[in-house]
């Protein structure tokens, strides 16, 4: 919450001039909010933000020289307290989570009334690190219910179990009656699927993803 004496200072970033004008009028109507600057590109936005140090940044996602998500990440890295509202025409859970991961404070669709943008900006100024978005709960639920994690093939599961048991490539090849180069290829595929660079990381990833069955450990 801000006191009535101190105005909220906002910078608008959108390459569409009419959108900026419409939002500016909405913020002007609010009375205690002042749009101190506007920008139409990521480069513009960075210099404007450096110069004006506003309380809240309202940015579009698609910009001519980049995107608002990257801009959010950059701003957040150097400024933990600025409120950041991501405004977009894009729909989809991915967008919401991208904004959340980038460190935005709020996410509003461009179909929503201007008042919603103003409300999100107020929230962002008060709680820059508490993310709000319409249908966030739904998006969260959807993400939880989606089957996640890499899928290993049956043979890869066998190779992984032997890797976890600490067998060398040559031993794995002998155990499974396959050539060493085939075993190596399987191991490389497993590392790639688990995003691991070596055996230790692969084992850790497998444990984390619940791919290692304790009852199978000898």
């Amino acid at each position: 919450m801000t006191s009535a004496t101190a105005n909220l200072r906002v910078v608008l970033v959108d390459d569409h001039q009419l959108i900026r004008e419409g939002l500016r009028r909405a913020f002007d109507r609010a009375g205690d909010i002042e749009v101190v600057g506007e920008a139409a590109s990521v480069a513009d936005a960075m210099s404007t933000l450096d110069r004006l140090r506003p309380d809240v940044l309202v940015t579009d996602v698609r910009l001519p020289d980049g995107d608002g998500i990257t801009l959010t990440t950059q701003v957040r890295a150097s400024n933990p307290t600025m409120g950041i509202v991501v405004l977009t025409m894009y729909a989809g859970d991915e967008q919401v989570f991208a904004a959340l991961d980038a460190g935005a404070s709020g996410f509003v669709g461009k179909d929503a009334p201007a008042e919603e943008v103003v409300a999100a900006a107020r929230h962002a100024a008060a709680n820059p690190r508490a993310f709000t978005a319409r249908d966030l709960a739904g998006a969260m639920q959807r993400r939880m219910s989606a089957p996640a994690g890499p899928k290993l093939s049956p043979r890869e599961r066998e190779v992984l179990d032997l890797l976890v048991d600490g067998l060398a490539i040559a031993q794995i090849a002998r155990r499974l009656y396959i050539s060493e180069s085939t075993a190596k290829t399987h191991v490389a595929n497993i590392y790639e699927k688990l995003g691991a660079g070596n055996r230790a990381q692969a084992v850790m990833a497998a444990v984390r993803l619940g791919l290692v069955d304790d009852s199978k450990r000898r």
């Binding site: 569409h16 009419l18 959108i19 004008e21 419409g22 939002l23 009028r25 909405a26 109507r29 698609r62 025409m89 894009y90 729909a91 989809g92 859970d93 669709g109 461009k110 179909d111 929503a112 009334p113 201007a114 008042e115 319409r134 249908d135 709960a137 739904g138 639920q141 959807r142 219910s145 989606a146 089957p147 899928k151 290993l152 093939s153 049956p154 043979r155 890869e156 599961r157 066998e158 179990d161 396959i178 050539s179 180069s181 085939t182 290829t185 399987h186 595929n189 699927k193 619940g210 791919l211 069955d213 199978k216």
Partner: protein, 578 residues
């Protein structure tokens, strides 16, 4: 001493042929300044009679002049053999005219000869060598002061003649190596273009066309023709590293290891399991395994049969590989175009409408209650329009990929719609952990998206039941609504026609008609004789239900305990321990 100088000159001359202008200029400068220095030495030594200028210094000076001249950059139109020949000729005459110490300078002749071979190939190089021998010999014979016998001490002259022939040969050999290592990119493009043109012609004329599924079926039949009593399945690697049948039924689980080992090792693999014998034979395109043929027999396949299978596969392999590649290229091109369309809508009409919305918000705030109410109505309509456009952009950009399968994409789509419209979507998903080929998934997704969009826009329905069953290579999808049903003339409207085309492309059956209790039914069958699957699938085996119960548009998901086929850890463990 002269040998070292010769090697240095040779290196500089070769560089002067292949390097940029600046370096060439430097090399010419080196040759020219050496010649000037030698000229000064010659001038000073004539006075004091130290070194014999006629025997050593003046020829060296002349040779450096020749080297400098030969290093001059020439216009592209002049073939490189011309300066090389000129250099050979002048150097031969200079060296031949020296007299007995001419042998000292003979190594220099290797320079233009090597360059001739290197720049123009063996024939020109040998011609240059012949020029050298003739010019040198002619000069020696005509010059009265040179004694040939003296010159030919220890047969070194003969040796030199041999060397003069060998050097251009070496140059020509290096030239060939260079050509192998650094091919011109133009021929590669020309080849690619020729191949694509051929593909295009083939795609239009082939009786089988370039459809992977048709070709795979034909391949399986060819295998059965050479090995009767065998069952053949053609498999492609689908997304997520799973194998999916392009033709025939899914491979039995007992064959999984044989399939995978054949894929990884790119070699045929034979295995026996549960009183059947499997032979997994990779279809290779160069080094890459593009598909795999699984031959299932009662007893292990003997070697002659395996050989004849491999022959059949080697014949049909390239066609199948091309078809799969073609399919993929088409998919990528389509994705590109959809992205472009999405950008166009996003940057144009959608932003304009959104800004009109903000302008209306402004008017609403500044007007009296009666007007504000009217504006509010318009604003709400506009908001629905923008939401619709957001949805269209989402649909255009959204698709299946390596990590997002058909089920995930469809449920996200359904839930988006449910969250942003007044339509309650009841989704039931029965998806095998195996995936269909991505090109098929894409078309299925687009068909369902179109069907749902139709319901949202025209049906005035309150409920939509989306039932999806995926059992690769079969799939069955129904979209049922409780709206006002099909209006006459809508049966072959633009949207439905597009759905039909997509279904035809993947060999699926599509049925659009009145629903079981009013409304509309869209039914899609893949890998079945008709659109209908089995009656029980119309009984909506709900796995996930999505319905609009929250005023804020948050769908509630109620997982129901049915035989969920989602890839849960428990399920995959079962697979492993079996």
């Amino acid at each position: 001493m002269w040998q070292i100088v010769t090697v240095a000159v040779l290196e500089l001359r070769v560089k002067s042929v292949f390097l940029p202008l600046v370096i060439r200029a430097g090399i010419i400068l080196i040759f020219a300044s050496t010649a000037v220095a030698l000229g000064i030495v010659a001038g000073s030594s004539i006075g004091d009679g130290g070194v014999s200028p006629r025997e050593a210094v003046i020829p060296a000076l002349m040779l450096f002049c020749v080297a400098a001249l030969a290093s001059l950059p020439l216009p592209r139109a002049v073939p490189p053999i011309i300066p090389a020949l000129a250099e050979t000729l002048s150097a031969s005459v200079i060296i031949g005219g020296i007299g007995t110490s001419g042998l000292l300078f003979l190594p220099y002749l290797t320079v233009p000869l090597f360059i001739a071979g290197l720049s123009s190939g063996l024939l020109y190089g040998l011609a240059a060598a012949a020029t050298a021998v003739v010019a040198f010999g002619g000069t020696v014979i005509t010059s009265s002061e040179v004694d040939i016998d003296e010159l030919n001490g220890n047969n070194s002259l003969l040796a030199w003649v041999f060397i003069l022939v060998a050097v251009p040969a070496v140059g020509a050999w290096i030239r060939r190596l260079r050509a192998d290592v650094a091919p011109d990119s133009e021929p590669a493009y020309a080849d690619a273009h020729r191949l694509l043109s051929e593909l295009h012609v083939v795609a239009r004329q082939l009786s089988l066309g370039l459809d992977p599924r048709t070709l795979a079926t034909a391949l399986a039949e060819d295998i059965r023709a050479v090995v009767p009593q065998a069952d053949a399945v053609v498999l492609a690697r689908s997304t997520g590293g799973r194998f999916v049948a392009l033709s025939g039924h899914e491979p039995p689980e007992a064959a999984e290891l044989a399939i995978e080992d054949a894929w990884v090792s790119a070699q045929p693999v034979k295995r026996e399991a549960s009183n059947r014998a499997f032979a997994a034979i990779p279809v290779l395109m160069g080094e890459r395994v593009v598909a795999l043929v699984l031959v299932i027999t009662a007893a292990s396949l003997d070697n002659p049969s395996l050989r004849s299978c491999r022959t059949v596969i080697d014949q049909s392999g390239p066609r199948l590989a091309s078809a799969m590649l073609f399919d993929d290229v088409r998919r990528l091109a389509t994705t590109d175009e959809r992205m472009r369309l999405a950008r166009e809508i996003h940057d144009g009409i959608a932003q304009d409408l959104a800004s009109v919305g903000y302008a209306l918000d402004d008017i609403r705030q500044n007007s009296d209650p009666v007007v504000a109410q009217q504006v509010m109505t318009v604003r709400e309509q506009l908001q629905a329009m923008v939401a619709d456009l957001r949805m269209s952009i989402f649909d255009l950009r959204h698709g299946v990929n390596d990590t997002v399968g058909l089920g995930a994409a469809l449920s996200e789509h359904a839930q988006r719609i449910a969250a942003q419209s007044d339509l309650a979507i009841h989704l039931s998903m029965d998806e095998s952990p195996k995936r269909l080929p991505i090109t098929v998934e894409v078309e299925l997704l687009r068909i369902v998206q179109e069907a749902i969009t139709n319901v949202r826009r025209h049906a005035q329905a309150t409920n939509l039941w989306l039932t999806v069953t995926v059992e690769p290579p079969r799939a069955h999808i129904t979209v049922i609504d409780d709206g006002r049903g099909l209006k006459p003339g809508r049966a072959d409207s633009f949207g439905i026609q597009g759905m039909r085309e997509r279904a035809r492309r993947i060999g699926a059956n599509l049925h659009v008609g009145p629903g079981p209790e009013g409304g509309t039914l869209v039914e899609l069958g893949l890998g079945t004789e008709t659109a209908a699957f089995e009656p029980r699938h119309l009984a909506r085996p709900a796995v996930t239900r999505v319905s609009l119960t929250d005023p804020h548009g948050i769908p509630t998901i109620v997982p129901q305990t049915t035989r969920s086929r989602a890839a849960s850890p428990a399920r995959t463990d079962q697979e492993v321990t079996n």
